[in-house]
Amino acid sequence: MMEERIKVLYIDDEPNNLVGFKATFRREYEVLTAQSPAKAMNLLETHPDIAVLISDQRMPGKTGVEFFEEIQSIHPAPVRMLCTGYTDVKAVIAAINKGHVFRYIQKPWQEDDMRAAIEEAYNYYEATSLLSERNIELIKANTELDKFAYSVTHDLRSPILSVLGAINIAKSAKTTYEIHEMLDMMAQSMVKLDGFIHNIHDYYTIKRGQLNITEVNFEELLANLKGIYKLDGVTNNIDFSIRTDINGSFRSDELVLYIILNNLLSNAFKYQKRDKEYKYVRLSIEVEDNHAYIEVQDNGIGIHEAYLENIFDMFYRATNEGFGSGFGLYNVKDALEKLNGRIAVSSRKNEGTLFEINIPGK
């Protein structure tokens, strides 16, 4: 398998040694050679995937150890081995201390010894590069977790504290009107808290869950959504219309699809302009060749152009309107990634917002 061959760079000022090395190993490994540290440096720049570096110690101008020391900070990944014919104890000690050398190979080398050393070096290379990859992932996950904990603490506590505040006010209220006003607030705070907990639940459903692919029953899905938003539409005088054009079947995860639609519709209903005479939310679903095209459109408050690129970020909120948690659209994006889908948004402040979604069926 060509592409899985180990990339080895051999550095020696003696051209014969280079030729000998290449002749011995070119069938097993992808062998690069350099007659000087300067040339080796160029090769390291152009081949960032070099896994094993073998250098002669005694070269004019620069020793192998000096070269390793020099590249330590720029090219830390390749595993280094030092090759020398002299039993030079100082060089060996320096190699270990300064050059981060994995192995020391006596010249003239034996083919089997060299092969074993390269294989071991490569195993070490794979283990460490995997480790550093995992480390990067872990750092990212930890940062996200910090942000998550900070924001979740805030979002869970603030409705509770609002209610406690309202209770204090209600206790010293002088009129029943004031008490009712506080009770209304408490109820709304609890609705907000419940909504937030639903968002967290969605977050974990998407993040941790396995996809459950079935033929999507749009009739049932839409009946569910209609049930949720019908009342909202009537009480707030919002015209809610659904258009479908389903041709053939569409295979996907119904729950994940539901989370996407529910979040987008919830936003469309939430961010309406209260003073607008004709308010609408339009949902359109087309299925063709096991591919779904979905549009959610409203003529609400819209999103300022400057905020559009951030709206899918976790906990990002572009407005104080409504009870946003900064979770909804993040979940939508995450859910679409799971389904290999794509989303586009276009919006104008005070005119409305259009989300266009494109999901391939499984």
Binding site: T153, H154, R157, S158, N168, I169, S189, N320
Partner: protein
């Protein structure tokens, strides 16, 4: 007897509920000349920069939330403290927050205009005591 000092209050909180609660607490504490709420910190900043209540002989207390979208409490203070001294010297800030994050508290106390760090829910008694002990 020392006369009871009264102040203008500016409440900055993204939650309309919390604005309302803070208004009621301020009213019940009975040390107010006026109360004004802002859901957007930017709007409050503009109001203050343009002279606020336009009454040069009175002092103002700002009740400020930390975690708010668009402009949070810290961003507000950064810009507020950059306003001319003859404006800012008429204001003190009380943080009113649900945050229990140690970084937020340390950072909040590093602003010279911040006098107190209040945890929500605000209470009338507590508010009254803090106001009466306040020295401009």
């Amino acid at each position: 007897m020392k006369p009871i000092q009264q102040y203008h209050f500016i409440i900055i909180d993204d939650s309309p509920f919390d604005c309302l609660i803070a208004e009621k607490v301020v009213q019940n504490a009975q040390r107010y000349l006026s109360v004004k709420s802002f859901q957007y910190a930017q709007k409050a900043l503009e109001y203050i920069a343009q002279g606020g209540n336009q009454d040069p002989n009175t002092k103002n207390i700002i009740l400020l939330d930390i975690q708010m979208p668009v402009m949070n409490g810290f961003a507000f203070l950064d810009q507020f403290e950059a306003l001319p001294e003859d404006i800012t010297s008429n204001y003190v800030v009380f943080f009113a927050t649900s945050s229990i994050n140690a970084n937020d508290i340390t950072r909040g106390n590093s602003y010279r205009s911040v006098r107190h760090f209040l945890n929500k829910p605000l209470t009338t008694i507590n508010m009254q005591q803090l106001i009466d002990r306040l020295v401009f």
